[in-house]
């Protein structure tokens, strides 16, 4: 048979390799650039904030392929407050906000998803393509496939199925957070998979398609080896993404800046942004809800300290430099405050004792009212003679029926403990209906009002739409180190996080023979002789 038309020109091997190297170099360069730009001093405002940077995933501007100078990130001029073309911090923030509004966060998520889908399709269709292409392109030259070959077909099919399930389990999970920077390990794995598949295609196209190899069994084994290697890469992904951070390595201390609540957690080897994510998730379940009403007392005390003193400048205006005057003023104020007889500690002590007494009184009234209210209803048994339909109530109605008898006591208690904004009437009735349905005792119903619970327990408006900002001096894709400090800022307060390394534990063993446990009575016996 006549040979068919020559295949379209494929790029020479050298050009393809150049392209691969350029892509690799591109990723490396943007990674370096991200690291270096994060380490430079920000525009006169101290540590730069790693807020959402929509353009950070893809490199801004496309550098020339293949001729990247690896050091170009290092010679980038840092923007400081003293350079000629200086941008103040507000300008940078404004520009970022404009970018945000115009480009939008979803763009980044869609780009990520598209790339993931393309890569997935490439990975899954490649072995099938390897198997199918020889049949399409040179069917008559192909050696027939024996039983060993068919066995290999089955193994390819099942391995692909396992790979599909494994990828679905590991990667296709709903995203639980939007982090400021890309997840370095995922990017590296994606690059690795891409290079791997491309190199396999390269070999296939040069050695098999070009030369039209007729040993079909060899081709099938080649496809099987590709799938095996992909399964091993997936194993590598599991180890890097899931297993590596399980072993606890650091003990982090998380303190809330508004009221000093502190918790300690054990984390493994994570990057700073992933550690921040883990800490925020722990925050939502462990920390009691932030209650700004409880902080007003200390603020008023602080205001009273400062209000008591007034500074007069006897020498006349304009004599000292402004800085010197401010310093001497504050020193004078501190000295005067130290000498002054301050009785505010007395007031604090008595006020707190009085408040404690009032809270306990209200609590006692509340407990009694709720217990009494709960005795008004009981669950209807099936065997009871049917009551009139007006008497039988569903949980919501039952809750509404007994709520008024306890409403006043509950409201007074919440006002005394300054929790009234956390609970609305509707939420209280819902909770009451819930407790009645589940046969809870009055004590169980009251528990959520007597002690402040974690944030998620309260209505959605307390935590929905909350945005967290990660402030860190080191790049947020760096790993946690001993002594790392970073701050998670929210609108009302911030969480200050310090990491300490768990020390190396040296343990030795001591063997005790079970027969060596012997005892004697401690006596003072007296014998007559």
């Amino acid at each position: 048979r006549e040979t068919r038309a020559p295949c379209p020109r494929r790029p020479a091997v050298k050009a393809v390799w150049t392209r691969i190297c350029s892509y690799g170099g591109l990723f490396y360069c943007c990674w370096c650039l991200k690291r270096k730009t994060s380490k430079r001093g920000g525009g006169g405002a101290g540590a730069p904030e790693a807020t959402v940077e929509p353009g950070s995933f893809l490199p801004s501007g496309s550098p020339a392929a293949g001729s990247q100078d690896d050091n170009w990130g290092e010679t980038t001029t840092a923007v400081t407050g003293t350079s000629e073309h200086s941008l103040s911090q507000e300008d940078i923030v404004r520009i970022t906000k404009d970018l945000e509004d115009s480009v939008g966060l979803d763009c980044r998520r869609y780009v990520t998803r598209t790339i993931a889908v393309i890569l997935g399709l490439l990975v899954f269709l490649t072995p099938l393509a390897f198997l199918v292409l020889p049949h399409i392109l040179w069917p008559e030259k192909l050696q027939s496939c024996g039983t060993a070959c068919e066995g290999l077909y089955i193994s390819v099919a099942f391995k692909l199925l396992i790979l599909l399930l494994a990828v679905w389990a590991l990667f296709f999970r709903p995203a639980r957070a939007g982090l400021p920077r890309v997840f370095v390990f995922r990017v590296l794995l994606a690059v690795l998979v891409f290079l791997f598949v491309v190199s396999y295609w390269l070999f296939y196209s040069v050695r098999i398609l070009d030369s039209q190899d007729d040993n079909y069994q060899g081709i099938v084994q080649y496809a099987v080896s590709l799938v095996d290697a992909l399964l091993f890469i997936h194993y590598l992904a599991v180890v890097l993404l899931e297993l590596r951070q399980l072993q606890p390595c650091f003990s982090v201390c998380v303190t809330r800046s508004s009221d000093g609540e502190t918790r300690h957690y054990n984390l493994g080897q994570l990057s700073i942004q992933r550690a921040a994510l883990a800490i925020i998730e722990h925050y939502y379940c462990d920390f009691p809800i932030h209650n700004p009403a409880l902080l007003s007392a200390s603020k008023s005390r602080a205001a009273k300290h400062l209000a008591g003193l007034k500074v007069y400048n006897v020498d006349g205006p304009g004599n000292n430099a402004a800085a010197g005057m401010a310093q001497s003023q504050s020193r004078a104020m501190i000295a005067a405050a130290a000498r002054r007889r301050d009785t505010s500690h007395n007031e604090l002590y008595y006020e707190e004792a009085e408040h404690e007494r009032r809270v306990r009184k209200r609590r006692a009234r509340l407990v009694v009212a709720v217990e009494e209210a709960f005795t008004h209803i009981k669950r209807m048994q099936e065997e009871e003679p049917k009551k009139a339909p007006g008497d039988v109530m569903d949980p919501r109605e039952a809750a509404q029926a007994i709520f008024p008898s306890m409403a006043r006591a509950l409201q007074k208690y919440l006002r005394t403990t300054k929790q009234q904004h956390c609970h609305s009437m509707e939420s209280i009735q819902q909770h009451l209906a819930f407790c009645i349905t589940n046969n809870m005792t009055p004590k169980a119903f009251l528990e959520s009002y007597l002690t402040p619970g974690p944030t998620l327990q309260y209505g959605k408006d307390h935590w929905l739409g909350r945005r967290w900002t990660l402030i860190s001096e080191a790049s947020v894709t760096n790993g946690l180190k001993d002594g790392s400090v970073f701050v998670l800022k929210c609108v009302d307060f911030s969480l200050v996080v310090t990491a300490k390394k768990i020390p190396y534990i040296q343990m030795s063993e001591e063997y005790i023979d079970p027969k060596s446990h012997k005892f004697v009575l401690r006596l003072q016996s007296e014998t007559s002789v």
Partner: protein, 128 residues
């Protein structure tokens, strides 16, 4: 009066000779002992140092051979017939005192008043 392991024990002792009294089949001495290395030294009311595990006289039967021989309650027995009593168990001490073949026991005992008497005499009459 207690010992420091490895160092020699020095004490001012008094020799007391007790004739055993025969009562039926037994030879009795007329006192009770307490202490020993297998006993709890903290419960000893007579010792100065509560870690002293020596043998102490805890009771004297009135009119018995021990009282006749001027043994007193609270005396620490250092030797019985040449056998050491400072590092013995309670039972060993009892055995050494109640040997059926011996009719006489010669004790070396020490008490606080002896030490004080020696000190007093040394103090009043300085060495010449």
């Amino acid at each position: 009066m207690s010992f420091v392991p490895g160092k020699p024990v020095t004490a001012v002792v008094q020799k007391i000779e007790i004739q055993k009294l025969r009562q039926g089949d037994n030879l009795i001495l007329g006192f009770s002992i307490g202490g020993g290395i297998d006993q709890d030294p903290g419960q000893n009311p007579f010792s100065e140092d509560k870690s002293d595990k020596g043998i102490y006289v805890t009771r004297i039967t009135p009119g018995g051979p021990a009282e006749v021989a001027d043994l007193r309650v609270g005396d620490k027995i250092m030797q019985v017939n040449g056998w050491d009593m400072t590092v013995v168990t309670h039972d060993q001490a009892r055995k050494k005192l109640t040997k059926k073949k011996e009719e006489v026991v010669r004790l070396l005992i020490t008490r606080k008043s002896l030490e004080e008497a020696v000190k007093h005499s040394k103090g009043c009459h300085p060495r010449q």
